[in-house]
Symmetry: C2
DNA sequence: TTGAAAGCGCTAACAA
DNA sequence: TTGTTAGCGCTTTCAA
């Protein structure tokens, strides 16, 4: 076990060359599959490599070629099935093109994201895919580009950066969902997101750091406004990072005098917590409260009632981001390109008329 | 934009040294934070680095030090929330110790896993965490160790390899779950897994490639046997890789004359498909069929009825694997170590007496 | 504390 | 087609 466990000095091209009695460069050519080598010599070299159990050193290779065949991915929360699925799309696509993936999970923390970007430059990745945590603090993303590395934003765009983006057209679907609630007679509609606000409480026009959440909010507010609802932003809630917080917010909303008659959850993690809390409170969906959520995973059709959702083509977004990045890396793309995938409001059974709809005043000043 | 977009030659230690009017080695010492440098000189060097926008080249550094501060992770399916959560545990732990993570997603394909192991050696990762796809074909894992890289197996152990393992004690929980079904009067109990069989159909004693699935099967079969059930393996089903296949298998099982009165799903992905199919078939849980699944995500408590599950400490498994690997990398561990985390059968409401239990014959030959 | 020089393992340029 | 010689950007001797 001593020999097989101890780390021995790696076998190098020079060792193989010596064994095969050729020059180092010749061995390197045979091993690396570049340049011209006679069949005869190639054979000798490969046999020698086999005998010595040679494994190329990718670091040394990358130093010379300037390419690492690696792409870096920075996401907020790999535990969120949304990113898990997008990651599979990226991963599948990268592999098919011969790239490896380095993953950095930031917990939506900007400082961690900045650090990850720095490390990716150090590691000399060929390109980076980021779901950015901030809409405006994007210096590190610009640095990434300045370092010559292609950059593709996933799921979220940012302010003032001329860069490739692959995202979902979420606003229209959010609008459709909220409009459906309004049409059903709801006038007190809550929205719960994990996004941290820069300053609380939220006020109309405040900048939200995640554009895909901003899209949700814009769509919802527009629908409520068009429905003649005053202070449509009154029941928007943010900062539900942990499951506990989402549950607490839900409880708090419902404890108020003018609590919501409908809740929209910003993603599937939030949704689970909200539903769990509703159940704990003994509230039925949709009899006591209507519910809509973003993301369409299979469990949403399994619960009673099946949840009306906004479905997003998550895997495809991951694939498109990876494809775009690789095209850039390989010089097959030019000009910043924004790709938007459609989202869809899927009407199931978690929405009904608000409780006591008949007695509801027309406007709640 | 030309200057900011074109990839310029990277600024190197030599450039910084020149700017600061010191020797290359001195600049390197100040920049790398090693060796002895006077405060005065360090200051000059750092200012020069700042001015020139210097970014260290991690590849060059790794070539010299032999360390990359990177750990490689190989899993079967990052989309599976089990691995997503374990990955977060690994990722959080790695970051806290200053390591980055390279992820390889194999789709449970052994050839892809072998290739991933090769690439990780090329990239000179400091250590590897693998959820191996095969119980016996582990040559590539042994090669990993022979290359001097610590290796930790996640969720699954393999045959004949003296290596660190972090897994879940799944057998006892599987036994408890199956026993509960038997005690409730069930005698035709099905189990559905995504694992590919080496040869079909499954026969007692066949080697299963994933030890954590083997543990499930062992526990279940033991409980059925002790319950006096003949051919307890008759209703085990494998190879449900895609959601469609899991649904087809479910349909097929239930169409048979002697179909199951209870189904156990091997993971949460399978579970969603099975439940969806049951619903499509108009079967109620638990009135028409009892159901138990592995993994305890929040949605399992939200559906009607809440699902009885086998809960596993997934995040903790990821954390433990990363900790063990890092301890090895840093020479703080010795002797192969197997860590087993307990799983727990959580009794909820998806199990009842089998339909028509009174008329059920005692044994179904 | 600083500097000069060698070397990590590979690719690339140039000659032969 | 092969060999020789320089690097890539850093760390690490060894002297001064």
């Amino acid at each position: 076990m001593s020999e097989s466990t101890r780390r021995r000095r790696d076998v190098t091209v020079a060792d193989v060359a010596r064994e095969a009695r050729v020059a180092k460069a010749t061995a390197a050519r045979a091993l690396g599959g570049y340049g011209a080598v006679s069949d005869d010599v190639r054979e000798r070299v490969l046999v020698a490599a086999e005998n010595l159990d040679y494994h190329p050193n990718g670091l040394a290779r990358s130093m010379n070629t300037g390419r690492s065949n690696t792409i870096g991915v920075i996401v907020g929360d790999i535990e969120n099935p949304y990113f898990g699925l997008a990651m599979r799309g990226i991963s599948d696509t990268a592999r098919a093109s011969g790239y490896d993936v380095i993953l950095s999970n930031t917990g939506e923390n900007l400082d961690v994201e900045i650090e990850a970007a720095r490390v990716f430059v150090e590691k000399r990745v060929d390109g980076v895919i980021v779901a950015p945590a901030s809409f405006t603090r994007t210096q590190h993303l610009d640095n990434l580009r300045k370092s010559g590395r292609p950059l593709v934003l996933l799921d979220r765009h940012v302010d003032n950066l001329d860069v490739d983006v692959v995202e979902v057209e979420i606003r229209a679907a959010a609008y459709a969902a909220a409009q459906h609630l309004v049409d059903s007679g709801h006038r007190r509609i809550a929205f719960i997101s994990s996004l941290e606000l820069r300053s609380t409480p939220y006020r109309r026009g405040d900048v939200l750091d995640v554009s895909s959440v901003a899209g949700r909010v814009d769509g919802i507010l527009q629908a409520l406004e068009e429905g003649g609802i005053e202070h449509p932003e009154a029941l928007l809630r943010f900062g539900a990072q942990q499951g506990d917080e989402a549950r607490a917010i839900t409880r708090e909303l419902l404890a108020a005098d003018e609590g919501p008659t409908a809740i929209i959850a910003s993603d599937s993690l939030i949704a689970m917590s909200v539903l769990a809390e509703l159940r704990a409170l003994g509230l039925r969906v949709p009899e006591d409260i209507s519910f809509i959520m973003f993301d369409d995973f299979e469990w949403t059709t399994l619960i009673s009632p099946p949840v009306s959702v906004i479905s997003q083509p998550v895997y495809e977004v991951g694939v498109a981001a990876a494809k775009q990045l690789i095209a850039r890396i390989e010089g097959r793309a030019s000009g910043a390109r924004i790709q938007r995938f459609p989202a869809e409001f899927i009407h199931r059974e978690s929405v009904s008329l608000p409780r006591g709809a008949a007695m509801e005043p027309l406007s709640a000043t």
